[in-house]
Structure formats: C-alpha cells, structure tokens
C-alpha cells in the first residue's frame, strides 16, 4: 500500500527529524503512511551510520604541511621568495601570434567567455595545469578585464612550445589544454591552462 500523496513529503521530513505531530498522528492510523515512515526512518538511520563510519576520514596529514609552506612562501616579502621571471613584451607578442592561429582553428568550438570584468587575472603565473588557473594576459600592457566582449577558445599547446611562450621547461608528455580569450579583433588576450597530467 502506498503512502497518501498529501503526506509523502511530510513523512520524509518527519523521518529526518522535523517536528510534525499531525503527520505522525496520521501515520499512526494509516497503514501505507506508517510503512513509508518506517522506511524513511530506516533510511535516515542508515545514512547516519554511514556518516558516523566516515567521521574520522580526513585529508592526508602531509597536505597541511604542504599548504603551510605555500602560505609562508606567499606571505614572504617581495624579493625573498623565488618568483618566475615575467616574460618580455616580445615573448608575449610572439605567444599571442602563435595562439591566435590555434584559437582561429578552434573557433568553431568556441563558447562565450566570462563577461567583462569576470576574467580573473594573474600575471606571471606558472604553467602548472590547473582548472582553477586564472587568465594570464597575452597582449602586454593591455588589461584583460576591460569592457571588451571576449570569446573563449580551447586549444592544445605542445609542451615543447612552453619555453618559447615564456614558461619554463616541462617534462615530456601530452599537449596541455588551454583556454584562450580572443578579442573582437581576433587577437588572443589571455590564456589559462586547464588540464594536463
């Protein structure tokens, strides 16, 4: 026998701990709703058992040390922490030209870019593959977060090309996926690496 449709949602909430004396009274006098309530309570208990079983599960201890080291490095005064050299304007222009070709090839797969002001910027960021990476400006001296409408194109960049784009050497491996912001004039404005290993 099924639960009464009018009580189905309330029985779930009752089983999850919400106070509903009227629904409880109804379930006491209705076979279908009583069965449903017992079922929901059993499910709540099973989920609580699962939550309890996993309660001690935590991130590996070494992660805390790694992150604290990164915090110390980030908080160090300028000049005391090693920083990646910022590529010269000519390198960026070369990179823009290379990426423009790639972006043009990929334009059929392009998707709308973040709206003006939404592109997140970090200059001189390392090329570590990172889906949360921020866009690095490619046209030197031009801000990325202006009012210009941008398109987003996904490209694949060979690792061997990274030094010529201003990043350091990387181990051999498959090409890195990157997203390129392309301006209305067709020039690449910024890049971020979105995946890798």
């Amino acid at each position: 026998m099924s639960a009464c449709p009018a009580y189905a949602v309330r029985l779930v909430e009752l089983a999850r701990g919400a106070g509903d004396a009227e629904a409880e009274r109804h379930a006491a006098s209705c076979v279908g709703c009583a069965a449903r309530l017992a079922d929901e309570r059993a499910l709540t208990g099973a989920l609580a058992a699962l939550a309890g079983a996993d309660a001690q599960r935590e991130a590996p201890p070494e992660l805390e040390g790694l992150l604290r080291a990164r915090l110390r490095k980030a908080a160090a005064p300028a000049g005391t922490a090693p920083r990646l050299p910022r590529p010269s304007p000519m390198v960026w222009l070369s990179a823009a030209a290379v990426l423009l070709v790639a972006a043009t090839l990929a334009v059929l797969r392009s998707t709308p870019a973040p709206g003006p002001g939404q592109a997140r910027l970090t200059a001189g960021r390392a090329a570590a593959p990172d889906a949360e990476a921020e866009f690095t400006p490619l046209v030197y001296g031009e801000p990325l977060d202006g009012a210009e409408a941008l398109h987003l194109a996904r490209v694949r960049v060979p690792r061997s090309a990274l030094p010529s784009l201003g990043w350091g050497e990387m181990d051999d491996g498959p090409p890195l996926e990157a997203e390129v912001l392309v301006g209305q004039d067709g020039l690449a404005r910024g890049i971020r690496f979105v995946s890798g290993e």
Binding site: R36, D39, A53, E64, D130
Partner: protein
C-alpha cells in the same frame, strides 16, 4: 577563559599571512571538505585535490567569500563541489577506487554483527555513490553533512525547492536500491 576564534576572524588573519590562523582554519574545515568530496567522487585522490584547491584559493587570494552574501560553509562546499565535478568530467563517473575505512565498532559487538554492520554501511555508501550526481549531491550535503536546505541551495547554486525535491527523489531511489538488498525495513518505499 578563551573562546575559539570564529571563521571570519580566522579568514581575516590568514589573508594577512597569519600561519596560526591558517592552521586553525584548515584543521576546522579540511575533514568536512575531504569527506564531502570523497563521498561525491568515491576517490580519495579527487577529494585530496579538492581540499588542496580550496585552500590554495585561500592562500592565493582567489577565495572571494563575502559574508554579506551568505555563510561560509556553503561557499566552501560549493568550491569543493566544483572541483569534484571538473575531476569527474575529466576522469569519468564516480566510483569507489580505494578501500573505505572500517567503521568504529561498539565494544559489545560480536564478529557476525560487525560483519553485518560493515556490509550495511558499505551497501549504503555504494548506493549513494551510484545515484545520479544531482541527487547524490543533495543527499551528501543534507543527510550526511547536515547542511540546511538553504545552505545546500547556496552550495549547489540552485533554489531551495530544487534541493528539497532532489533530496526526496534521491532518498526514494536510495530506498529502492537498498530494499533489493535488504527486504526489511525497506520493503515499502512508496
């Protein structure tokens, strides 16, 4: 008597590079975020990555939490959830790839009872992971992490009513899966 600093205070201090504040904040949140990401993905490595990325965003200043727009918990869960989703898109559907922990056993429990309880917990874990993503997220946030509907809606970036209906539908699907395994007390799940 000293009271524990609240999250806002810790956040403000760690943004200024205070390592003690970072450590306190990390220890307060890493377990919750790890378990959440682990339950969504079934992969410890994905959960570790999610925790790493959330805290790296804190360190790099990429965490743009604004207390005026809502509480911190849904913001952090939302970030971890986005990391897991990207990972699942890249690596394939959620599945258990590492051994789950042994649940703590009551002192008076015998070997057969322990086996049965362990099997039950495992069955529930796998049933949750087998749910479609939207329902799994709602159940993990509301029933396992104990977030309110309002906070879960913020974390999932959807309406409160959507969370509620996903949770109810997810529980229905869960009961169906578990009923097949254990006739009682999941025999009438409608």
């Amino acid at each position: 008597m000293t009271s524990e600093p609240d999250d806002d205070d810790l956040l403000r201090r760690l943004r200024a590079g205070d390592e003690a504040a970072f450590t306190a904040f990390y220890r307060r949140w890493q377990g919750r975020l790890f378990r959440f990401a682990w339950r969504l993905s079934g992969r410890a490595a994905a959960a570790e990555d999610a925790v790493h990325e959330v805290f790296m965003a804190l360190i790099d200043g990429g965490l743009r939490f604004d207390p005026a727009r809502g509480p911190l918990a849904p913001y952090l869960y939302g970030m971890a959830r986005n990391q897991v989703r990207r990972r699942l898109e890249r690596d394939g559907p959620a599945s258990w790839t590492d051994a789950p922990p042994e649940p703590p056993a009551p002192a008076e429990e015998g070997p057969l009872e322990r086996l049965s309880r362990t099997e039950d917990v495992e069955a529930v874990r796998r049933a949750v992971l087998a749910l479609p993503g939207h329902y799994r997220e709602a159940i993990v946030l509301c029933d396992l992490e104990q977030l309110t509907y309002e906070d879960a809606a913020l974390a999932l970036d959807c309406a409160v009513g959507t969370v509620r209906s996903r949770l109810h539908r997810g529980r229905e699907m869960l009961a169906l899966r578990l009923r097949d395994r254990r006739p009682e007390p999941f025999k009438v799940a409608r």
